[in-house]
Subunit: 436 residues, 2 copies
């Protein structure tokens, strides 16, 4: 008698074959693009010292972290992102590696978050970064990799929205609002969700209402990259050197992006701030034209110091994170995900008139020819075997008493039976039905 | 100032790009074979209710399991294998799926084991199973999938050693040693490690010395499949029905395996028992001719009940587990793993005489042609850039001031520079150097 109720923890879920095949196809395409740009994969442990993951003190994320004492009474935690483990990884291995180091890491992370609003406690992250260089070329590479990934995934039109943190910071310095810069960044970052008026109201609790209006004016996009850039500079103190450097950096980045043919997919958007103190240079978000409401599907930016908690080596870098779950939602919505869930191509029907020996000899022949094939393991009524094939989305079934033929091929979608006398004839029909 | 020492927990390790690329190449080959046989991927949560993973009581494995209280004070644990989560998964989802269900699952598991003898506390498992059928065809499919996987991995000659648990059990019944069958199975399972005399000595503590000798005689292989089978039957009670059924099953399995062309890779070996009570039918191990000392690289067998802790549905099945770490060791030892660690194919040298715009335009052209390409992000001495390329095992470097040429291609391994006037000429040389 069963004694235990089979169930998963709240906020966790199984991945059934259909979802798993879709995710695998998506990850495969991403990896090909990462490889094309020279990124290499790494992996790090799921469990680490809590001190490593959370720092000596520990901040707001702590409450969400799965943290416990292991068998040796060590204070350990499960990783909650891929950035902190990467920082520790670089500090530890920089001498065995080379700089600049381009890595990607696709792996699960865990956060004991509130599961309302459809949040999961276990989810996949996909990060790619270039560390060890502060250059426009690397910034551009992150944008180009993101753009090439979107193209490879076939999610339709997309837009990379970029900005430079220094321009926002120099503007805030000019209006003397630096003390509340973090709060302003966070507020502006939520502009799309909150709406303009609510944002002005919130900003007015931080700075004078006329300055709140000025912030809103600053973050409006103009007609072109250069016009937006000019507008942003005009809101800073005239002659501000840091602002000029940021402007030149953005121009250099756009130059590389244009040269690589992605000018139409990158826009300068002063409202993009990525509300994290972490970023210091270019920041970026990616929106899909077909589903802007799902938010950014690839976000990131440049940071000054990856690993200063763990090493004296300065490791400036730039990187981004792909939102796999959002992309899967987009692929499902646009129907682009449909064909990936076929696994087996051919089911060999198991009937009394053939021995297992003959059916397995035929299966081996079909697999040698590259067809994903399985023998139904028991002799059952054809209808039972068809039902199995339909549930598993197997498109074709074959009746045979010998591996050399004759064969009857059943096209399950059309409920049509085709008679073929020999294996060559069978291959011709298989090609037409499966790849035609 | 850095304040935290970067380090990983004992028994855990980072995976650097070289290892990660090797693992990815191996997993890719395995997945292609699984797909060819109609297996589909699934995934399950890393964290589950401790009750689900350990049962109501909990046995010897408990001590090794990472178990703790989560934020909601739930008694949770990290999975220590992929079999128990699969049993829970099938009990929970059987009505959304179809039977027989062929799944594979490649994922990490955690055990707080003693780290002496090179054991890791975090490692990858790779399981494939067919559940919902008790048939020779499914047993054969597991053997054929294992054989095809070994062939695809290119690990050289291999041997699948199979047996049937019922034959051993009926032999033990005949010599009236059933009460100590578990202990005998465990002892015999370690024969290769312990040696014959030590095994006889150990067996003699369980049964009479003459019976211990009989056990050793029983588990000797004979010249052929049929001779070994006859010998095994002759050690059972004459006319034993269960033993005859097991014999017929082994013959049917061998029939399928021979039909599919793998007769030479499968041997009946009565010493294979897989010392686990779990198995009830065919059992199998896989040894590599080139490295027998690493032990079985793919092991498994048939079981009566996958999920009886969680459901009343009877779910008989057969499956096996691939030893990824052992296979990586074998691939390293045989040198088959060498070529997988090339990532970037071309480094575009960054020199003052070219703008980033031109270098990125060239990179885009090369990527469109399918070459993994990166622009060195900063203008540095060629030697610095060569050193980077060599450390990352990038085979080729290109000097260019324009995306249309002329180019100088440097073959880093030969320290040879080749001048090319246009892009078409460059492509010809790239093909020859990279794929020639």
């Amino acid at each position: 008698m069963p004694t235990i109720q089979p169930r998963v923890l709240k906020g966790f879920r199984d991945s059934l074959p259909e979802m798993e095949l879709m995710r695998a196809a998506l990850v495969d395409k991403l990896e090909k693009v990462f490889n094309l740009f020279g990124f290499v994969p790494i992996d790090t442990p799921v469990l680490e010292y809590a001190e490593i993951l959370l720092g000596k003190g520990g901040g707001e994320t702590d409450k969400q972290v799965y943290r416990f004492r292991d068998h040796g009474n060590r204070d350990v935690a499960m990783r909650f992102d891929l950035t902190v483990p990467f920082a520790r990884f670089m500090a530890e291995h920089v001498d065995q590696l080379y700089l600049p180091f381009r890595r990607y890491h696709i792996a699960k992370v865990w956060r004991g978050e509130n599961t309302q609003r459809g949040r999961y406690r276990e989810f996949m992250q996909c990060d790619f970064d270039i560390v060890g260089t502060d250059s426009a070329s690397a910034d551009a590479d992150i944008l180009l990799t993101a753009a090439e990934a979107m193209k490879a995934l076939g999610v339709g039109d997309f837009m990379l929205r970029i900005n430079h943190r220094a321009l926002f910071n120099r503007f805030l310095a000019h209006i003397e609002a630096q003390q509340v810069s973090t709060e302003i960044l966070r507020t502006v970052d939520k502009l799309e969700k909150s709406g303009t008026q609510a944002t002005i109201d919130l900003l007015s609790t931080l700075i004078a209402p006329n300055l709140a209006q000025e912030v809103i004016a600053f973050i409006q996009k103009e007609d072109s990259f250069e016009k937006t850039l000019d507008k942003m500079l005009s809101y800073c103190t005239p002659g501000d050197v840091e602002a000029s450097i940021a402007r030149d950096r953005l121009r250099d980045i756009m130059d590389c992006v244009s040269a690589a043919g992605y000018e139409q997919n990158v826009v300068l958007d002063p409202s993009i701030t990525r509300g994290l103190d972490y970023y210091t240079g270019m920041v970026m978000e990616t929106s899909l034209t077909v589903m802007p409401e799902i938010g950014s599907v690839c976000s990131g930016g440049r940071y000054d110091e990856l690993a200063n908690l763990y090493t004296e080596r300065r490791l400036p870098g730039v990187g981004a994170s792909v939102g796999l779950d959002r992309l899967i939602a987009a692929l499902e919505a646009t129907g682009t995900a449909s064909k990936t869930d076929i696994s087996t191509e051919i089911l060999i029907i198991n009937q009394e008139n053939a021995t297992l020996r003959e059916l397995h000899a035929l299966a081996a022949k079909l697999r040698s020819a590259g067809y994903s094939t399985e023998v139904f393991p028991e002799t059952k009524k054809p209808l039972t075997q068809y039902t199995y094939a339909e549930k598993k989305r197997i498109p074709l079934a074959i009746f045979a008493a010998s591996p050399s033929g004759p064969f009857t091929l059943r096209v399950l979608s059309r409920r049509e039976n085709l008679d073929v006398s020999d294996f060559e004839g069978l291959r011709g029909i298989l090609e037409r039905e499966l790849h035609g």
